[in-house]
């Protein structure tokens, strides 16, 4: 197809997204879309549409998130071997906390259970697997299983009250659970002789590699795999069947129940799945650090973790990861700042919560909502009923004929308004039917041609011959006309004139 633009003439991009990157579609080739092996899922969400302006078929990526994910995670992976030892530790901690936060997001966002016992579950998984490893010599691959089982049990215990309690009640209650765990672990003298902590945990990092370069690299690789697994879990749970069910239930629980969605059961399942995941993360935590201390249950640690998902945005995986990156960078990366770090984190948390509705990842949506609201308010203020089409409205209307008709109609009405004078009204009052002056004929012609919706009509009252009321048509077949007012006219000419006045009123006000 040739470009029809005239050279030298300035063209302006219009429309909502003129900068959108689109690919051309070769109409001759058959459409072929790659699927993920053994599933019916596509890797990327391609969408084709006909561009009404260029009349060309074009293809665009409807969801660009996978690209950003690949880019960010790929960068992290590629840059890891070049990082210093301390930066490598920070990266590994980031991956680990991200995994925890992604699984937590599953609980808060997808399941909609406002649980603050995440670290308690992680800690229980870590303690169970570490104790089994140290005292019973459980090999490290099985530690993950043990951690997962411990997390599952802990999750099941926590899930019980969540069915009964309201959101905030449950959140506050679970805050206490971590405290219970801390005290409980410190009381278990035979298991935790060192003031509540278990040391010398053998993990996937060989003992003689510990704190060496290869050990750090291996640790980072493990944490990275953990993060990938957590993201995969998030993807599978959140955007497949369970997530869909819960998304329906989130808006209106009673409605979801009425159409047969057992949202409580789905919530429990999500809760249990992510609890098991958190337990596995706990086992990893114990292996990575080679020890586990009651510090994991402390309120401060929980608050820092909560700050991460809050800054990123509750309920989104990318929010959890971005928030974690920011806070871990400040908390572990800027060690020179001392106590200022936590102040900085608190300040960011404060600023983000006060200004955004849902964290950093929600900014885009919030801004769009704000812009849409402003646009529509401004449009609503300017648009007269039945008036001319505003430019920004015009790009939303596909049928360009309608735009021209409304413009024509507006001009016609402006002209007719000038014709309405007391003389014309008096003329109609005198003689509603019959030969009229030019101005009145024009007016009446315009009224006759009006749309059926809201058109006025005279209805004769049943049983009484000379008794009329004015109605307005609904414009919908089958829907009865509505009564304009209760006034009864005993003279048909009077009724004609009343209808005329109503129409003139409408014309003058439009």
């Amino acid at each position: 197809m040739t470009d029809t633009r005239i050279p030298g003439k300035t063209y302006y991009e219009i429309g909502q997204r003129p900068q959108e990157i689109t690919l051309k579609v070769d109409g001759a080739k058959p459409l072929h879309r790659h699927r993920l092996p053994f599933t019916r899922r596509h890797l990327l969400k391609w969408r084709s549409r006909l561009n009404p302006k260029t009349l060309r078929q074009e293809r665009m990526l409807a969801d660009k998130k996978p690209l950003w994910w690949t880019l960010a995670l790929g960068l992290l992976l590629v840059s890891a071997p070049f990082l210093s030892n301390s930066a490598l530790t920070v990266a590994a901690v980031f991956c680990m906390f991200s995994a925890i936060n992604v699984l937590w997001t599953l609980i808060i966002g997808t399941a909609g259970i406002f649980s603050l016992a995440t670290l308690a579950v992680v800690g229980v998984g870590a303690y169970a697997s570490a104790a089994l490893n140290v005292y019973l010599g459980l090999p490290w691959p099985l530690m993950f299983v043990a951690g997962g089982v411990a997390g599952l049990v802990m999750g099941a215990l926590l899930a019980l009250p969540s069915t009964r309690l309201d959101g905030l009640y449950y959140a506050l209650l679970t805050m206490g659970v971590a405290e219970i765990c801390r005290v409980f672990v410190q009381q278990l003298k035979p298991l935790t002789p060192m003031n509540g902590s278990i040391n010398n945990v053998q993990g996937f990092i060989p003992a003689d590699w510990a704190l060496q370069r290869p050990g750090l690299l291996l640790g980072f690789a493990g944490a990275f795999v953990l993060l990938l697994l957590a993201l995969l879990t998030f993807r599978i749970v959140n955007s497949e069947r369970l997530g869909m069910l819960l998304q329906t239930a989130r808006e209106e629980e009673a409605y979801a129940e009425a159409i047969g969605i057992d949202y409580r059961r789905a919530r429990m399942q999500v809760f249990l799945i992510s609890s098991a995941g958190l337990g596995v993360t706990g086992a990893f935590y114990a292996q990575y650090f080679g020890s586990i201390s009651p510090q994991v249950f402390s309120l401060d640690q929980l608050m820092v973790l909560f700050a991460m998902i809050v800054i990123g945005g509750l309920g989104r995986a990318e929010g959890a990861v971005i928030g974690t990156a920011l806070v871990v960078l400040i908390d572990k990366g800027l060690l020179d700042l001392g106590p200022l770090r936590i102040l900085l984190v608190a300040a960011i948390m404060l600023a983000v919560t006060l200004t955004t509705n849902n964290g950093l990842t929600g900014i885009r949506e919030q801004f769009r909502g704000f812009r849409r609201r402003r646009q529509s308010e401004a449009r609503a203020r300017r648009t007269e009923k039945g008036g001319e089409v505003m430019p920004e409205e015009a790009i939303d209307i596909n049928d360009k004929q309608a735009i021209y008709y409304r413009r024509f109609d507006k001009r016609l009405r402006d002209r007719l308004k000038a014709l309405v004078t007391p003389d014309v009204i008096e003329e109609h009052r005198q003689k509603p039917l019959g030969q009229h002056s030019d101005a009145l004929s024009r007016l009446l012609n315009y009224f006759r041609r009006g749309e059926v919706a809201d058109k006025y009509a005279i209805i004769r009252q049943a049983g009484n011959f000379h008794s009329y009321k004015i109605v307005a048509f609904s414009g919908v077949r089958g829907a009865p006309p509505r009564l304009v007012d209760d006034r009864i006219y005993t003279d048909i000419n009077e009724a004609y004139h009343a209808v005329f006045l109503l129409r003139v009123n409408d014309l003058m006000e439009s």
Binding site: S376, A380, T383, K385, P422, D486, A498, L501
Partner: protein, 232 residues
């Protein structure tokens, strides 16, 4: 005579929806105005715009000569208490009531000026005189009352202070005809001295003959006096 309420060029709506179109409206002292119109044509929105509770609004609203309108697009309800204190009493559609308070406490809530608060007992008695069924329910929880009694409490709350302008929204909505008639009856038994009242009502028959003037509302515009269709 002073205009208690003088609205000029009021446009208001919620989000993209424009409900009121350039309304101009005046209520003089001592006047009782009926605002009639079908559901969804903007009667309630007009009241809410006067009390600054709609999504956005622009145009001038003079309450006793004080500007309470203006252009505003955020924070519905933020200026409402100040407007109420400037002399507006509004009984909203449905029941804006406090289910956990007793009838007496509920009425006390309406007494927001220090004088009214000091003599709240006397004023409660006055309300009980207007709505006799409430007297024996003085210490009952509002949440346990019947629909009609709640409406009486809701309207009674608006009567606890000497407001200059009363906006009563749909006093008959959802009530049995007999009860709604008695509520309306009680409203009209109030003394006229210096106060003005606007009653929004779908049931024209309840108001006809009792109000000084009836204004129709249609599709967000005022329609002059019903029954006298004219060019303004």
């Amino acid at each position: 005579m002073v205009d208690v309420l003088k609205i000029e060029g009021l446009t208001a709506g919620y989000g993209p929806l424009r409900v009121l179109h350039d309304i101009s409206f005046k209520v003089a002292e001592g006047e009782r105005v009926g605002l009639v119109g079908l559901n969804g044509h903007g009667k309630t929105t007009l009241f809410r715009a006067v009390s600054s509770q709609v999504g956005w609004q622009s145009g001038s609203i003079l309450l006793m000569g004080n500007e309470v309108g203006g252009t505003r697009s955020t924070g519905p309800g933020r200026r409402t208490p100040a407007i109420v204190r400037a002399g507006l009493a509004m009984a909203p559609q449905g029941d804006a009531i406090f289910p956990g308070l007793t009838v007496a406490q509920h009425l006390d809530c309406g007494a927001y000026t220090p004088e009214a608060w000091r003599e709240r007992k006397r004023r409660r008695e006055m309300v009980f005189d207007i709505f006799p069924p409430l007297r024996k329910l003085e210490h009952a929880l509002v949440g346990r009352l019947s629909g009609g009694e709640r409406r009486m409490v809701s309207v009674g709350r608006a009567l606890m202070v000497e407001a200059r302008l009363y906006l009563i929204d749909e006093p008959s909505l959802g009530l049995a005809p007999k009860i709604s008639a008695s509520v309306i009856e009680a409203l009209f038994s109030l003394p006229k001295d210096g106060r003005a009242m606007v009653i929004a009502e779908q049931n024209v028959a309840l108001l006809s003959g009792r109000v000084d003037r009836m204004v129709g509302m249609h599709a967000g515009r005022l329609r002059g006096d019903v029954g006298h269709v004219s060019l303004h």
